[in-house]
Amino acid sequence: MAPALLKSTTASAAIPTVHGGGNGFHGGGSFPGGGGGGEFPRRLPAHTYRLGMWLGLIPIVMLFVAFTSAGVVRSGLSTDWAGFTLPRVLWLNTMLLLASSATLELSRRSLTAGLGRMFAGWLYTTAALGLAFVGGQLMAWRELIARGVYLATNPSSSFFYLLTAAHGVHLLGGIAALLYMLFRARVMVAEPARRTALEVTAIYRHFMDGLWIYIFLLLVRWS
């Protein structure tokens, strides 16, 4: 890590370099309005945005670690922890989410290859699968409510709703980013430098998938 850091100091910093084909942002960062986010928002190297995203995942991990430890403590504390059968739609939802990761990868590779329509098509599919997942989660909630299992019914149900809601909220944020990129799809195909946005969203989505697997296994364990 250390040698790479030193190398990057010579290359990046205030001199934004562009990887994989230029788009006009050359020179010693002498374009105007840099400090104020002016007319030409400055582009940093792609690895900076990726680093930012990886760092952003750390607090999300810590959030779910905290929820997990709260659950572990609460389940061991008193005798009122009662498991319940998980709605079967959760299995389908898991498949949908994993599929959306695959389609996102297809989308990303299409973009890198310059295949604009395939990129947009797979991106639509990814967003749709993500929304289908969220819809499926809501269906799971409805099934539980119909069974009389509410947030406060039992500590195990409290954690079920808590974890699925927290995951869902974060996932929706990622879906919003996807939809924004669809909105700007033409720009993304045209300017390679803007593809970083998709790479970074992909990291986030794959992480959400992995997080869901973890949460699902935890819920299975607790049920």
Partner: protein, 588 residues
């Protein structure tokens, strides 16, 4: 080339509206100043709250003029009720810990100075930076709103222990807004932290290796790592608390509680769970408060001793050690919670271990001062005073870190004295150091040194007058979070000392008017500052005061020297700027 870009920079800056330049700005300098003034506003409110508290403690039942008009609900007729006293102390603590101490040192000075010190144009993610500020601002509104709407602010302290904070009725609707405020603050801090870390790792200018970073940057960097890891746990705890309050869950509340003659519908939760979650965040939080300030002190002590910092590498390792150990000691806030004595022993030993890197830093500051050509600017006065109050505050921590001693001292004013010395005094002094040192760079004008000296001496003597006696009233058994003491015979002999503390507090609070007068007067009418009035070495001092919007613009600095090349034998002057092309035969 440079002139053209500067001209274009001017044009594009001129075209931006006032709102885009000074309100919704993505410029780290503007954001840093916004954070600073948010912290300044918060500290003024916090000090007013503490003055009200000290009045109430010694003269309960006093009618305070104007208070009845501003807070008619909580202080009808200007008299603070005992329950409202608890509200005052809750908001005082929350404001001071979060919106003053965490904001000023890290978000305030960090945002303004860090990109400058590493030769960058801005933070890595300027729009995220702006979002962080406005989320913090929203959090402040949410925190203060309960004074004016609903049932008033919460009464459960800044630590919000359940069951009181979780049961809804007694703690009032203000607790919900408190959780919302803290949640907003958590998200803002986490976003800010990832911005800081990315910026330090990726945006350093050419030649600026990690071991050439000013200690301020190291401190902001490590603090950001602590924040990234710990704030999420507080957010999780807050979500669970909110669910207990409004969702009917029982994460923190056990069954069988009877409040107001009615049994509450909770079962099986644990208040201890809250304590673990809260303090797992809460202890790193105090290092988030003190680390940036330690960085500032190192920087300023070196600059005004005209000597390199004594032991640069150990200073870095000490910061890292304090940061790491800070995650291992949360249990020392819970010694009396019924934990196993073995756990207590482990937490106690680890707590004392933090004294080692802290002492290394203290001795290194002294080593830097030793033999230096000291320049007693106001910043230096406060920096020297910091070393004094840091030691004082730290020493009482060693007492509290022993479980058997803490069994007696927990929840007494000894604890209050400890954390006020180390946070309310030492950390605030560090913020004063930062203010007096960087004011010229931030605002392009000099603060008045005479007013600074008056401010310093009154404050330095004042804080000792307030808090040294507080250790004694704590040792004598005075409990925390009590609205008044007149009901307890054993505390009657302490009344005189309490009165002394209150009066010292009023005088010290009044002394801050010298600072405020200096600050606001100098903002508009202070003498103009040159590029480097302190003859310091780090990169921010190579820029005009204040720096242009794009910082270094076309002139990307190349760093060739370490951060504290002061009094280098054979050099032309007694300092070498980090980007200087001067070559000196290394004598040391």
């Amino acid at each position: 080339m440079a002139e053209t870009s500067a001209a274009v920079a001017h044009t594009s800056a001129a075209r931006k509206s006032f709102i885009r330049r000074y309100v919704f700005s993505t410029d780290h300098k503007v954001i840093g100043i916004q954070y600073y003034f948010l912290a300044l506003f918060s500290v003024l409110v916090g000090v007013v709250l503490s003055v009200l508290m000290r009045i109430h403690l010694v003269w309960p039942g006093t009618e305070i003029p104007l208070l009845g008009k501003i807070l008619p609900q909580g202080a009808p007729g200007g008299v603070i009720s005992p329950e409202y006293y608890l509200s005052l102390l809750t908001i005082h603590g929350t404001l001071m810990v979060f919106f003053v101490l965490t904001v000023a040192g890290q978000s305030g000075f960090g945002n303004f100075i860090l990109p400058l010190q590493i030769g960058a144009e801005d933070m890595a993610f300027p729009r995220l930076n702006m979002l962080s500020f406005w989320l913090t601002f929203a959090g402040l509104i949410a925190l203060l709103a309960p004074f004016f709407v609903g049932d008033g602010p919460p009464i459960s302290g800044w630590t919000a222990y359940p069951p009181l904070s979780a049961i809804g009725k007694a703690a009032g609707a203000g607790q919900d807004l408190w959780v919302v405020s803290i949640a907003l603050f958590c998200v803002a801090s986490m976003l800010g932290a990832l911005n800081f870390i990315t910026t330090v790792l990726d945006l350093r200018t050419r030649g600026l290796s990690l071991m050439r970073l000013p200690l301020t940057v190291w401190a902001w960097f490590i603090t950001a790592v602590l924040a990234l890891l710990s704030f999420a746990v507080l957010l999780a705890a807050g979500v669970l608390l909110l669910l207990d309050r409004v969702g009917g869950t029982s994460f923190f509340v056990p069954g069988g509680l009877i409040v107001g003659g009615q049994i509450l519908d909770f079962h099986g939760g644990s208040p201890l769970l809250w304590q673990h979650l809260f303090w797992f965040f809460g202890h790193p939080e105090v290092y988030i408060v003190i680390l940036p300030v330690m960085g500032i002190i190192s920087h300023v002590v070196a600059t005004f001793s005209r000597k390199p910092i004594f032991g640069y590498r150990p200073m870095v390792y000490a910061l890292l050690a304090i940061g790491f150990l800070g995650f291992c000691v949360w249990g020392h806030h819970m010694f009396v919670s019924g934990m196993s004595p073995y756990s207590g022993f482990a937490f106690g030993v680890l707590t004392m271990a933090i004294a080692v890197p802290s002492s290394i830093k203290t001795f290194n500051w002294l080593g830097t001062l030793w033999g230096g050509k000291l320049r007693f600017t106001t910043a230096m006065l406060f920096a020297l005073a910091f070393v004094s109050v840091f030691v004082t505050g730290g020493l009482s921590g060693i007492f509290l870190g022993q479980p058997p001693l803490d069994a007696y001292l927990h929840d007494t004013y000894f604890v209050v004295a400890h954390f006020h010395m180390i946070m309310g005094v030492a950390a605030i002094f560090g913020i004063f150091v930062g203010t007096y040192f960087w004011f010229p760079k931030m605002f392009g004008r000099m603060l008045n040194p005479t007013l600074g000296a008056i401010h310093f001496w009154l404050t330095f003597l004042g804080v000792y007058a307030i808090f040294i006696p507080m250790h004694f009233v704590g040792l004598a058994g005075t409990p925390r979070r009590y609205a008044f003491f007149s009901a307890f015979d054993f505390m009657a002999p302490l009344a005189g000392l309490e009165r002394f503390i209150s009066i010292a507090a009023f005088v010290t609070a009044a002394a801050q008017l010298f600072f405020l007068a200096n600050l606001f007067w100098s903002l508009f009418w202070g003498p103009r500052a040159s590029e480097n009035p302190w003859q310091a070495t780090s990169l921010e001092w190579t820029l005009p005061s204040p720096p242009p919007p794009d910082n270094f613009g076309a002139r990307h600095p190349v760093v060739r020297h370490g951060p504290y090349e002061l009094s280098v034998p054979g050099a032309a002057k007694d300092y070498i700027m980090q980007d200087s092309t001067e070559e000196v035969r290394v004598g040391s």
